[in-house]
């Protein structure tokens, strides 16, 4: 015989109560306004994240994306911000590099057509918004011919890196070779531009000038790099004493042209 009372709390009662409380909490949470979740306290504002739909990266997607980047490169090299600052003796080089991108576009069109795809004739919208437009605005603002060379070097390096990266995503081996041929030509253009900025065989290796500032190297690495291309453009900021650095990334899943 025990002296326990009816309201004694046993394990079963406790578990049941806990379950009821948890279920009630879930119901209450579900009844809450959905707008509340958008207003979570945070420092600063963040843009809403748009989820990428169900997509597959095919060879045609890579070729269409290459077209968008080639068109972007051509747009940059033929923009008045660039052409208005080019010296007469360099104008032919800049227009020649732009013509090479036009030639690549024709090549890409036939590669896409042969695979039953549709050519893409616009500059890559996401990459232009990320850095292309900003780079051109900085060149226009800085009004320096040196910026034109720097932007040209960065653009050609970016195109070469893109094709090298695309090799690792391309299914058809023969197409990998076609891509790297165009990448190699952009790579040559980058080396020529580097030599125009910092000429001579002494400029092949990375180095620094008398002030300790890194110089432009024609052969910065033994293997092709896939990292973002950094370029300093525009006027010197009087407050910081430095110029704006633009990071130019190769296209990725969110900037592919599907």
């Amino acid at each position: 015989m025990t002296n326990s009372t009816p309201n004694n709390i046993n394990r079963r009662t406790m578990l049941r109560s806990t379950g009821i409380i948890a279920a009630s909490g879930a119901v209450l949470a579900a009844c809450g306004s959905s707008s509340a979740s958008k207003n979570i306290a945070r420092v600063g504002e963040t843009p809403e994240i748009t989820k990428l739909g169900e997509v597959t990266v095919t060879d045609v997607v890579l070729l269409r994306t290459a077209m968008s980047v080639e068109t972007m490169a051509k747009t940059i090299l033929t923009d008045t911000a660039v052409t208005s600052l080019v010296a007469k003796n360099s104008a032919g080089i800049v227009s020649g590099f732009a013509a090479a991108h036009t030639s690549h576009l024709a090549n890409l069109r036939s590669l896409i057509s042969a695979r039953g795809g549709e050519a893409y004739e616009e500059p890559n919208e996401k990459l232009m918004a990320s850095y292309g437009t900003q780079a051109l605005a900085l060149v226009a603002e800085g009004k320096s011919e040196a910026d034109v060379s720097s932007l040209m070097l960065a653009t050609e390096t970016l195109v070469a890196s893109m094709y090298q990266y695309f090799v690792s995503l391309t299914a058809e081996p023969a197409l990998r070779a076609s891509m790297i041929r165009m990448g190699a030509q952009a790579s040559r253009a980058a080396a020529v531009t580097a030599q125009l900025i910092n000429p001579g065989i002494g400029a092949f290796a990375p180095g620094v000038d008398k002030d300790g500032v890194a110089t432009v190297a024609t052969l910065p690495s033994a293997f092709g790099a896939l990292s973002a291309v950094q370029v300093q453009l525009g006027p010197v900021n009087p407050e910081t004493g430095s110029r704006a650095t633009v990071l130019m990334d190769t296209p990725s899943l969110n900037s592919f042209i599907y």
Binding site: I180, R181, R188
Partner: protein, 189 residues
């Protein structure tokens, strides 16, 4: 009034065990879900390729043989110049080719064939004259590698060869500039 507490330990223990098991399983799933989702997204990024294919070994050994001969050629070129900048510039490219030999050998491992450093030419004379000849050899090597890339199945090998071609194109253009070729011609236009 007598109250008889009826204990049913077996039923109670089973319930607790089930509850704990359910909690543990739920926790494990919740922890793994983001990983599984991440993998699924990555898989949607593109088709999968074989990372290695033994059928590539012959083509890669050809690439290795060519690079070893480039090393032999640059050893002669470096010995033929005396100015500090010239030695440094040509040694840099020599080091790149040594790195390519090591990369391809490293990839092939025991399947790598002997690759003698037989020179492709004997560079001599002025730096300008040597640069023109070396630029041509770089172009030819990049073309050989591009043809090899077109038949490689293994993606790891394709990545190595692609990263070599991109820089050998730079070698060619840089040496053409040193030889006095016009910028547009040096860029391959």
């Amino acid at each position: 009034m007598d109250n008889h507490q009826v204990e049913s330990p077996e039923t109670s223990v089973t319930s607790r065990r089930r509850l704990l098991s359910a909690l543990v399983a739920g926790g494990a799933f919740a922890t793994a879900a983001p990983l599984l989702a991440g993998r699924a997204s990555a898989a949607e990024g593109g088709p999968s390729f074989p990372t290695r294919d033994p059928q590539d070994n012959n083509a890669l050994n050809n690439a290795l043989a060519r690079e070893a001969r480039m090393v032999g050629t640059y050893r002669i070129a470096v010995a033929a110049v005396s100015a500090d900048d010239d030695v440094a510039g040509l040694t840099l490219i020599l080091d790149h080719h040594i790195a390519y030999v090591q990369a391809i050998k490293g990839y092939l491992g025991p399947d790598a064939k002997d690759a003698p450093e037989t020179p492709l030419s004997s560079p001599s004379g002025s730096l300008k004259a040597m640069a023109a000849g070396l630029a041509q050899l770089e172009d030819d090597t990049a073309t050989i590698h591009t043809d090899i890339l077109a038949i490689l199945s293994g993606m790891d090998a394709a990545k190595i060869i692609a990263s070599i071609i991109i820089v050998e194109a730079r070698h060619s253009a840089a040496l053409n500039m040193i030889s006095g070729t016009s910028p547009l011609v040096a860029s391959g236009n």
